[in-house]
């Protein structure tokens, strides 16, 4: 029997077991009607699993779920949907080749006779998008739209099915600051309309800004539920990790050495052959971190792919230690002691069906001690893997587990572990802490600083302004494929960057360039 009546949802003693892992261990979660409830916890704590149980995707190995006071038994998402539960997944559930409208109506499509009634469908989409201020292009294909819009599509999907309780699994991980603000606006308007929201995130700032209450999971167990007003970020962090966590990055003044990396008049096109990097020139010194701030989709992804040998360079020059590497392919560049943390961990960073030990040597697999004259030495690999997953605290299944069964954050840690372990002299990190928990963020940031202090040059690309500001020594702002300004991190602020990133030229706020 559910506890109080103003609880729309009450999950009691939920247990879910995967091969080798107890993802949920007698978890309790109660949600009040109309609240925004934050669900936080380390990577692999079991947040996503719990939500998948609530959405009927997994059937729990133990526990009960009460919804609006009644015990419910979910055979599948259909049941959840009918009850008014909607979920926006950590990895979007969108069919790339289909249009926005098609994705939204999929499953209960408006029809006229035999035909699928595109007109009505489009209209309903438009109505919802107007009502909640969720702008989308109904006719665009998913594969052609920004991540932010894809997320709005996911939200409309749930509302289209009359969701009352909306689950958001790390919705902000992939969003730009602007998009995050928009998202929170949406949250508020949803709340006004009486909807209830469960919100998973690793960013405590967001938790403080938007949530009413917070539930903390740690290694599969529910630790505590608190009122947001009564706690500080540090408190929450401690609850999550079980120890004190430094939320602010500690770093000493950089001691830049001579130039290690520079690009001149770089031009790059995207997949649709549109120029997206226009005459960019940059340079990074040894022992410094150059941050690239910019709203996603302004060419930073293509820039990184181009300088890591994954994308064709139309014109321009890339130099490492004064050596021309413009024509180098990915392998040759890696051999120059360049490390690369790619922005899309699932598409680029990992072979999801490989196990940890096979993943942790990707890109270095043909080097000793892993490989000698073309023969792998898996004993060395195993040893090496063991060390790294301990050092970097990669959780979930051990080295024989497939990467696809790791939680999002642990996948990221795996990549970081790999890329940082060949003492790179130049490090390219895009979105290095996307979807990573506070403890790990602390860790990864510390690693990046250490690299810098050991004299490596670092190129940091992040949509996370606070991250760019706190890590970088210098910040280059990219807008529509051009570097609009380069600033000293110490002499600028989010406001100014925000302006530059959105095209409006800097007024005041520290002299630019050196």
């Amino acid at each position: 029997m559910a506890r109080e009546d103003n609880y729309i949802l009450d999950m009691q003693n939920i247990t879910k077991i995967f091969p080798g892992v107890k993802a949920n261990d007698n978890v309790n979660l109660s949600i009040k009607k109309g609240e925004i409830h934050a669900l936080v916890g380390e990577n692999g704590a079991g947040k996503t699993t719990l939500m998948n149980v609530l959405y009927g995707l997994y059937d729990p190995d133990g526990g009960q779920v009460y919804y609006e006071g009644n015990k419910i038994n979910l055979d599948g998402p259909q049941d959840a949907i009918e009850l008014g539960i909607g979920m926006v997944h950590q990895h979007f559930m969108l069919v790339d080749p289909l249009t926005v409208t098609e994705n939204i109506v999929l499953g209960n499509e408006p029809r006229s006779g035999l035909m699928l009634d595109q007109k009505t469908a489009k209209k309903e989409v438009q109505d919802i998008s107007n009502k909640y201020g969720l702008f989308v292009d109904p006719d665009a294909k998913i594969q052609d739209i920004s991540v932010g819009m894809q997320q709005r599509v996911e939200i409309i999907k749930t509302l289209y099915r009359g969701a009352e309780l909306l689950i958001f699994d790390e919705p902000t991980a992939v969003l730009t600051p602007q998009e995050i603000d928009e998202l929170f606006e949406i949250f508020r308007s949803l709340k006004e309309q009486g909807k209830t929201i469960i919100f998973i995130t690793h960013k405590l700032k967001e938790v403080k800004t938007i949530s009413d209450r917070i539930t903390v999971l740690r290694s599969g167990k529910s630790i505590d539920t608190v009122n947001t007003a009564d706690v500080t970020k540090e408190d929450v962090a401690e609850l999550m990790v079980g120890r004190q966590v430094l939320l602010e990055v500690e770093k000493t003044e950089a001691k830049p050495g001579d130039e290690i990396f520079n690009v001149e008049n770089l031009n790059v096109k995207d997949n649709r052959d549109i120029p997206v990097v226009k005459d960019i020139s940059l340079s990074v010194r040894k022992g410094e971190i150059l941050g690239i701030a910019g709203v996603e989709g302004n060419g930073q992804s293509e820039l990184v792919e181009a300088i890591t040998g994954l994308r064709k360079i139309e014109s321009g020059k890339v130099e490492l230690r004064g050596k021309d590497i413009t024509k180098y392919n990915a392998r040759e560049i890696k051999r120059e002691k360049v490390a690369h943390i790619p922005e899309d961990r699932q598409k680029r960073g990992l072979i999801m069906d490989f196990d940890l030990k096979e993943n942790i040597i990707l890109g270095y697999h043909d080097l000793e001690p892993f490989s000698k004259n073309g023969i792998m030495n898996y004993d060395n690999v195993a040893q090496y893997t063991q060390d790294l997953i301990e050092k970097y605290d990669v959780r979930g299944g051990g080295m024989e587990a497939q990467a696809k069964n790791l939680s999002g954050g642990n996948q990221q840690k795996l990549i970081v572990a790999r890329e940082f372990s060949h003492d790179p002299e130049f490090l390219i990190a895009s979105q290095p802490t996307r979807g990573v928990d506070v403890g790990s963020i602390e860790f990864i940031h510390k690693q990046i600083i250490d690299r810098r202090d050991n004299g490596a040059g670092v190129l940091l690309v992040s949509a996370e302004l606070s991250e760019v500001l706190s890590l970088s020594d210098r910040i280059a702002v990219i807008f529509e494929g051009e570097i609009v300004d380069v600033l000293k991190a110490s002499e600028t602020n989010e406001r100014e960057l925000g302006k530059l990133m959105t095209g409006s030229k800097a007024e005041a706020g520290g002299e630019s360039n050196e």
Partner: protein
């Protein structure tokens, strides 16, 4: 890390399930046998005796499984690299034909040159016939399934229709018989070789009925090499990476085209070896009908063996036994098409029962945690 005992276990479950599924298939098969007023018992004991009843039966089962293991491997390797090779049939024909021609054309080479020459030539041409679709895929985005299907038909025209005619001597639609110097060692002649003749059990082999020749052992070696290549070498690592996630492989500095072309070339060479063996070991000339659809059966062999070289060996032996025992079933009065049906049933059930392996694994894991 009780990693290996784990593996052995999973392999044993595999085998257990395969056996179980074969039994079920045979039970269902009785339905058809009843339609032919024969007794299933006789039929199946014939099947068993034909395949494993005595030494020569077993030897011949292995002999029959040889081309199947090889075509199975030829499908399995590219499969691990994300490619579906339906072209083993054509690669087998090209390889076999080449070996056949080399086998008769050079009349005065010593065996220690002629035989290896014929084998390598056959594997090379088979390899090229497999490498071509690999190249088309890597460089021109031609889907390998179309390319290999097309090349199968082209190979038939080139070898069976055209090739035989230009080299035919008598009325037989076959190339001239190969020279003694190009023929593969056949175990029934073991006594002619002083060295071998005083091996233990040598005399067991010395029966005229035994057709097993060395290509079976070449097939085993090929399987081990491929297993090693796939799971122990850097190239294999790269092939599997490309197979699972080309983008990830590219990021890892792996050259996908290289992986694709090599995988297809190797698999073509292996399929070619299947043809080589049939010509130099079994028929002693390249003749119409010698391909016997091995290329297609190879697909089933590969996947029943879970595209794992060792699995493929077992799969190949299973099909070899079905073929060898199937013939014996005919002697017990079961018409050939019923034999076919029973073979198909075995495939269904072996395939279907693999599924339970997944469930078993899941259950086991659960138990493990509590």
């Amino acid at each position: 890390m009780n990693n290996y005992s784990e593996k052995i276990k999973s392999v044993l479950t595999d085998l257990g399930l395969s056996l179980l599924s074969i039994v079920i298939a045979l039970i269902v098969g009785t339905l058809f046998i009843f339609l032919t007023d024969k007794s299933p018992l006789d039929a199946y004991s014939a099947l068993y005796i034909g395949a494993f009843g005595n030494f020569s039966a077993i030897a011949n089962t292995l002999w029959r499984s040889t081309p199947l293991i090889l075509t199975g491997l030829a499908v399995a390797l590219p499969f691990r690299a994300g490619l579906f090779n339906i072209g083993a049939e054509g690669q087998l024909l090209m390889g076999g034909f080449t070996a056949g021609v080399v086998g008769f054309y050079f009349t005065s080479l010593p065996a220690f040159i002629h035989l290896p020459f014929a084998i390598i030539a056959g594997m090379l041409v088979g390899g090229l016939w497999g490498g071509l679709p690999g190249f088309l895929k890597a460089k021109m985005d031609v889907h390998e399934v179309i390319a290999t299907i097309m090349l199968n038909h082209i190979a038939i025209a080139l070898t069976i229709n055209y090739g035989i005619n230009i080299f035919r001597d008598t009325g037989r639609p076959a190339t001239p018989r190969i020279m003694e110097s190009a023929s593969m060692f056949n175990f029934k002649n073991i006594m002619d070789y002083p060295l071998l003749s005083n091996l233990p059990f040598a005399e067991l082999f010395a029966q005229p009925a035994i057709r097993l020749h060395i290509n079976f052992f070449l097939a085993l070696i090929a399987a081990v090499i491929l297993w090693y290549l796939l799971f122990k070498t850097t190239l294999g690592y790269e092939m599997r990476a490309v197979g699972f996630n080309p983008d990830g492989a590219e990021y890892g500095g792996i050259n996908a085209s290289k992986g694709i072309i090599t995988a297809m070339f190797i698999s073509g060479a292996v399929a070619g070896l299947a043809g080589v063996g049939e010509v130099l070991g079994t028929h002693l000339s390249f003749m119409q009908g010698m391909d016997a659809g091995y290329g297609f059966t190879g697909i089933a062999v590969a996947l029943i063996g879970q595209t794992h070289p060792i699995g493929v060996i077992l799969g190949g032996i299973l099909f070899g036994a079905l073929a060898q025992g199937g013939l014996e079933m005919q002697f017990s009065g079961i018409p050939s098409e019923i034999v076919m049906l029973i073979q198909a049933l075995v495939i269904f059930f072996v395939a279907a029962l693999q599924v339970f392996k997944v469930y078993l694994a899941k259950r086991k894991a659960k138990g493990g945690v509590e």
